[in-house]
Symmetry: C2
């Protein structure tokens, strides 16, 4: 019998208990042994839960129990979760988590402790919910050099953008709807502003490169600036607007990273990911393109990924662990955002000022004026063939915004990148 | 330094050598050691290849060399490949292969030998070329019960069906074109008639269920009967015709298996797989649906999957191996084809006989007559809501064909299943 403990009985933690019970037979068959959830650590009371007798508020009952060999951390955040993860590893227990924030923040340290103790620290569920992505990237693509990763990694924003497009509603209406359906939090900032997606692409890029990518280095924009008018333009170009996380090698040895809404052609495989679905398109130098698609969140899906890691940790107990996944590296390989090339859709109010801006952009790069969709404004694509950098484009747009009369409505309406 | 040998220097075998050289640095970093291809066994001469000095025609130079710890089998077929795989395992060497025929035929025996010797027998590249699918299914979905697998697993047939649809050409023309481009063999039977797909779904179903599914038990139809007129009808229903491999649990404990062309709605995620691309849609009871998509064949892609398995085999050397993947089972869990429910598109010549057949089918199940696409014929969908079995439908169609005048053109034109 293998004893495990679950830390934090929220959505994912309770899902782990539920999947463990639902698929007990097949899990035990796979394992050739029985999993027993010996302790569940949570500060709250759960007198009516099926495993009510296993709950404890005392962490020592987990960390000082030599019988517990694997600990599931589903507390979330980087406070107590960090402390408990370290304590578990130092007490000789493998740790499995769905906590992307912790992995993206303290991954190298926690992996190093696990490695030194010949333990596992596994986090398949931290990206893509139940979709297999970390292990395929780490194991199945190990003979490839990963050239690029493009991902739709956040279900909340994807649901909102899908509703905005299909129902022709505003961002605010779609967000309220998402909150009512439980797809968005009451304080939705982490999702809406791209922070969640940023941590996830940092993890994927770190797994792909074998070097730790600090998420603070990743340029991140959310979707709150996307309007229904932008979506009308996207539609007219047979494109969808998605919150796209990107990690891409440039021709040198640098990595371009970005989280931002983007126009993607409907023929792109990524475009099938609507509603709360996620999709991750990876290009390997030998493999070519491969895509992984599924529900990127959800209690049972995420819990099943956590439990698969538990099974893996158990099967690997007492085995020489693999090389540590992520080296802390001194070389700054993340390309500065301002030096990255950009292609963009730009929308402006009709008027003399806007014409000036258009001319300015035309003097730096190519411009394609789009068929007019609304009376009072115009839109164009910039940078499709003649490269322009994020820095150069941003300088032009910022200077334009600064010179405008702050008491009037700005002539600049939106800028959304093309994939 | 880790010494490996490659058996068979065909497309995949030479690809392994090429990828190993192309990505040497990143592979060695992942491994924390160096891979060295010590021997390449082939009966042919390759005096001009970069590793010309490593070729041998003498199998003893591989199997009796204690320094060689991993053997790559890319010979193909079930003759010498079987013999050499056994010899390698018995000599204490892990074996990695892309040989679906061998895995689908002798998988349980070879896995059992590997297990008893604490070695690996890995075959990620046997299904989906370079697309990660075996390991995700085996490892990442280990806490799920797999409810169904639907796959487009053969690039040749998918290329032909895509060209037939997009270019409005006949099967024969598309096949010739595929042969010219090297996507189809001169003798294309194994691909065209679904045999290749059949072995692949047998492997996937075996991995998913943990029990060996004999491919001989799988009902298999190819695509040679699909006509351009069928595709016109599919188009009119906003469907595509794809060669679909299916493995699905029924409500009892039985598995329905089938390889046959099928109508799939363009909104199905599978429908994005055109040309030589493959896609595999898996439904887990906790995960829900997840899809894996990419190039299902090709020298470099397949070779990169083989090499990823080599890395895995090396990292696992001297470790307690996992439980054997496939139990040889006595319980016949494959549901008899005639007992499986079917929904079908049926196309008939206009005429009194056809009306009789239509009435006969109407007396057993529901029928939807489709808008007429061609003057001399009509088509309908059967079984969409009232279940009819493959056996019952086949009995009606066979009786109809038997009663027809063999000197005349048959009134029965085609029957293609709906997904």
């Amino acid at each position: 019998m293998i004893n495990i403990a679950v830390l934090g009985y929220g959505t994912v933690g309770s899902g782990v208990v539920e999947v463990c019970s639902m698929n007990k037979e097949s899990i035990n068959k796979k394992l050739g042994d029985k999993i027993f959830i010996k302790k569940i650590l949570d500060v709250r009371d759960f007198p009516d839960e099926p495993l009510a007798d296993r709950f404890t508020k005392n962490p020592d009952e987990v960390f000082l129990d030599p019988e517990i060999s694997v600990v599931v951390e589903t507390i979330g955040g980087i406070g107590i979760a960090y402390e408990y993860t370290k304590r578990a590893l130092e007490a000789g227990k493998s740790v499995v988590t769905s906590n992307k924030e912790l992995v993206a923040t303290y991954g190298p340290e926690l992996l190093a402790i696990a490695y030194s103790k010949k333990l596992s620290y596994l986090f398949e569920a931290s990206v893509g919910g139940g979709i297999p992505i970390i292990r395929p990237l780490n194991k199945c693509l190990s003979a490839n050099q990963v050239e690029s990763i493009y991902g739709i990694l956040n279900g909340t924003t994807n649901y909102i953008l899908t509703r905005m497009k299909n129902e022709k509603i505003s961002f605010e209406t779609a967000l309220r709807e998402a909150q009512i359906h439980g797809y968005a939090e009451k304080i939705p900032t982490a999702d809406i502003e791209g922070h969640d997606t940023c941590r996830k692409i940092a993890i994927l890029a770190s797994v792909a490169s074998g070097e730790f990518i600090d998420y603070n280095q990743i340029y991140t924009e959310g979707i709150s600036c996307v309007t229904d008018r932008d979506i009308v333009y996207a539609d007219s170009l047979n494109n969808k607007i998605k919150l796209i996380a990107m990690a891409k090698k440039d021709r040198g040895n640098m990595i371009e990273l970005r989280v931002a809404p983007a126009f993607i052609p409907v023929e792109s495989p990524l475009a099938i990911a609507d509603d709360v679905f996620n999709a991750i398109l990876i290009e390997g130098n030998a493999l070519g393109p491969a895509m992984f698609y599924g529900k990127g969140a959800g209690k049972m899906a995420t819990a099943s990924a956590v439990l698969a890691d538990v099974i893996e940790a158990i099967l690997h107990t007492h085995l020489t662990p693999h090389k540590v996944l992520w080296e802390q590296t001194n070389t700054i390989r993340v390309k500065k955002h301002e030096n990255c090339a950009v292609k963009a859709f730009i929308r402006l109010l009709e008027g003399a000022e806007s014409k000036d801006l258009l001319e300015k952009i035309k003097s730096c790069t190519d411009v394609t004026i789009l068929p007019k969709q609304f009376e009072d404004e115009f839109a164009f694509l910039a940078g499709k063939t003649i490269p322009i950098t994020e820095g150069a484009l941003s300088d032009i747009l910022e200077a334009f915004k600064r010179q405008e009369d702050p008491s009037k409505k700005s002539s600049f309406l939106s800028m959304i990148r093309l994939l």
